[in-house]
Symmetry: C2
Subunit: 442 residues, 2 copies
């Protein structure tokens, strides 16, 4: 079977971590992040472009002192439920943390979204990089990295168990035999694990996809392992070289196979911020303009702390060598922290230089005229750097430029669908419907 | 100011506790409880009838052994978010438990619904009558009654604190002064109480209603106290006499006043299952038909246990005196349990007789031709038995009969609105927008 390219849209809104200055763009309404009509428009544009899914990031935390990331946003599951009834084919992937949610509530809400959307729900399982989140949930300290990942694995296992509570045909609704529910097709989970004790059954029937699609975003050792075990989709960071992306792709597929899974059943997306314009030159100009709009040293310094458990680097001398903060890496996003420390050490960088390196213009491979961007996508896709891209655009006009300019080229080359062939996210991603654990062949 | 009648719709679906046999009605699709189109249709019909709100009950539990209540339903907040974009004026009230949810997640999701709906969200705070719920959330035993109520009060206080995180005007988005968020208008809550420790701030701005409307359903001493302290709407059970309803109404309003609140700012709804038909006679026939459809001794016996911590009464001799189960009342819905025990003792009833009494036909005051039903509503409303009714109908035709037959009579008598005068739930209920605790007069 030939591989097919998948595309998802990540609607940025304003006030988020990756587009600091976006709110200043005169084309942007300042309150779009809480305006459901914005998300419905984005979703409909993505569906017009035959995208696989709308993808939403999330955090359950905003810093009172430096509230620059995931500030003032609609909660993903309520937002996507509203979007669901205004779309027909588009997958709806919500990020939700397994650290500060209970598996029963998560399983129920994603099953509900899957019913509401007719089989288009996906759950991007994260463990939470923002250490301050713990203080919104009664804990002084963020759970450590290892605990968070072991909890994530068990949380997905519990959710999947709950999603199997009802076998297909559990509701015969047979008036003559007076049977609404067939009790032999209803199963209690009775899970007792290290982190969770959940009896079940779930109070909502098996949803159109059997189970919502599981996404994961891990890049660390633990993250790759979790992804290979349970993920059906991966949302990998986009700021890597082609070679690094290939390494990640091959590694995760290999790990999945080592767990007895078909590597085809784990679709790897990378994040991409394409900049498309009429000419390559105009696109490069726009890329520089975006960089200038977002560039802010103080903000980069504050965001640096995010990878180290919300550590406040501003107390350090900017021109002294990068401080010894290795012990803080466990508290936040360990991979990013470890990478930064290694680079600072190898290149003997000061704190100021580390901040400047982090915030320097990263050349996206997807900048240029439509033809140029399509070429780059084809090259990376053919090189097995990804199965798909999660695309983010600054303004709706730029999303439309991609849909109307790049998509037709990808279609002509046979890389991308020319019509939806399925109404479910599983169907469009080429993922099988999981068998219900209780159903034995007849 | 003259009082105004309020109406809400409680869409039953099938498989719920109060309409056991409804799924057998040939006019009902068997899967309506998970079909978002059913809820959207119900909401639009309610809005066509100028109702104040759609009201959804909830439970986070279904019994594997006797799965007869709140079986297989969409989760309320995802469901109402989807309904929101298909309505413009109708309030959207979701039941959610303060026992098995965290206040940060609840506050965030209701604020999100309030943004999505443009100011129409309400939260019906319950503590959970189904003792088995605890086993879906890691606890062997359901929290006892007193703990649940003290937790509920604190949970609402935390949510309200989080909803005040951002003052009005917190987002000036002033390009010239380079200020997206004004940090002086963002506040941390730093709550530390008996049950919760929540730092905040919330990661979503103050919503169109300032705060979503708080509903409560308590009838016990603790419930009435909680309602009088924090509720802006009450959802009281409907199976009472006019005198009992008047006592409840006067008592809750008096208690609210004793807490320094304006009794007008707490709207008391009772549950009603009206049966409307062309003639009184036809309505009475239909009422009897519904009773026959729902009547089932074994099911009533099982449901009886719900008030006693899911106690299994089937192990007792049906014809012996009602067993001594007073010690179990703490585990479930205490008020109902205490009432049952008192009645059994006073009348010296057997277990069978208690079950039969519980499941006998209760004469709703709202059965008859449109004129008869309108008369009864007027009588109860004028007698201060309620400010509004939460109406439930078996099938959509019967909802339409009420909207087209009874509502115009209520309108002619000046009891009910002839058009929406507000786009928010607070506006339609005549409730003020709460002042933000951080905002001082200018």
């Amino acid at each position: 079977m030939s591989r097919t390219l998948h595309l998802a849209l990540h609607p940025y809104g304003v006030g988020g971590p990756a587009q600091h200055g976006l709110w200043k763009d005169p084309r942007i309404a300042k309150n779009i992040s809480t305006d459901i009509r914005y998300y419905i428009r984005q979703a409909q544009a993505a569906e017009h472009g035959l995208f696989d899914a709308l993808f939403t990031a999330d955090s359950q935390f905003v810093s009172a002192g430096f509230p620059s990331h995931y500030l003032n946003r609609l909660e993903p599951l309520t937002m996507l439920s509203a979007v669901a009834t205004h779309t027909r084919h588009l997958g709806l992937v919500a990020t939700a943390s397994s650290t500060y949610n209970s598996p029963f509530n998560l399983a129920r809400r994603f099953a509900s979204l899957d019913h509401i959307s007719g089989g288009r729900a996906g759950w991007n399982v994260v463990t939470g990089v923002d250490s301050g989140t713990s203080r919104n949930f009664g804990l002084d300290e963020h759970l450590d990295y290892t605990t968070r990942y072991s909890r994530a694995l068990e949380c997905v296992e519990v959710a999947r168990g709950l999603w199997d509570s009802y076998e297909d045909g559990a509701f015969p609704a047979d008036v003559e035999r007076d049977i609404f529910l067939d009790p032999s097709k209803l199963h209690q989970l009775n899970h007792e694990g290290e982190h969770f004790k959940v009896a079940g059954p779930l109070n909502i029937s098996r949803s159109p996809q059997g189970q919502p699609v599981i996404f994961q975003a891990g890049v660390s050792e633990e993250g790759r392992d979790l992804a290979a075990r349970v993920a059906e989709g991966i949302y990998a960071p986009g700021d890597t070289s082609l070679e690094q992306a290939q390494e990640y792709y091959a590694d995760v597929k290999r790990r999945a196979a080592s767990y007895g899974r078909d590597p085809e059943h784990i679709k790897i997306f990378v994040h991409g911020d394409p900049v498309v314009a009429a000419t390559d030159e105009a696109a490069l100009r726009r890329e520089r303009e975006i960089f200038e709009e977002d560039h802010d040293f103080d903000r980069s310094l504050a965001l640096l702390g995010r990878s180290f458990g919300a550590y406040d680097f501003s107390t350090h001398d900017l021109d002294a060598p990068f401080p010894d903060v290795a012990h803080l890496a466990e508290k936040g996003g360990r991979t990013g922290a470890v990478k930064l420390i290694a680079r600072a050490k190898a290149q003997n960088l000061t704190l100021r230089q580390v901040v400047e390196t982090v915030s320097e213009l990263r050349r996206s491979p997807f900048v240029g005229a439509p033809q140029t961007v399509a070429d780059a996508i084809e090259r990376w896709f053919d090189a097995k750097a990804f199965d798909g891209i999660v695309l983010a655009f600054r303004v709706e006009d730029e999303l439309n430029l991609f849909v109307d300019g790049v998509v037709p080229i990808l279609q002509k080359r046979g890389l991308f669908r020319t019509e939806y062939t399925a109404d479910t996210l599983r169907g469009n991603l080429g993922l099988p419907v999981p068998a219900n654990r209780w159903t034995t062949g007849t």
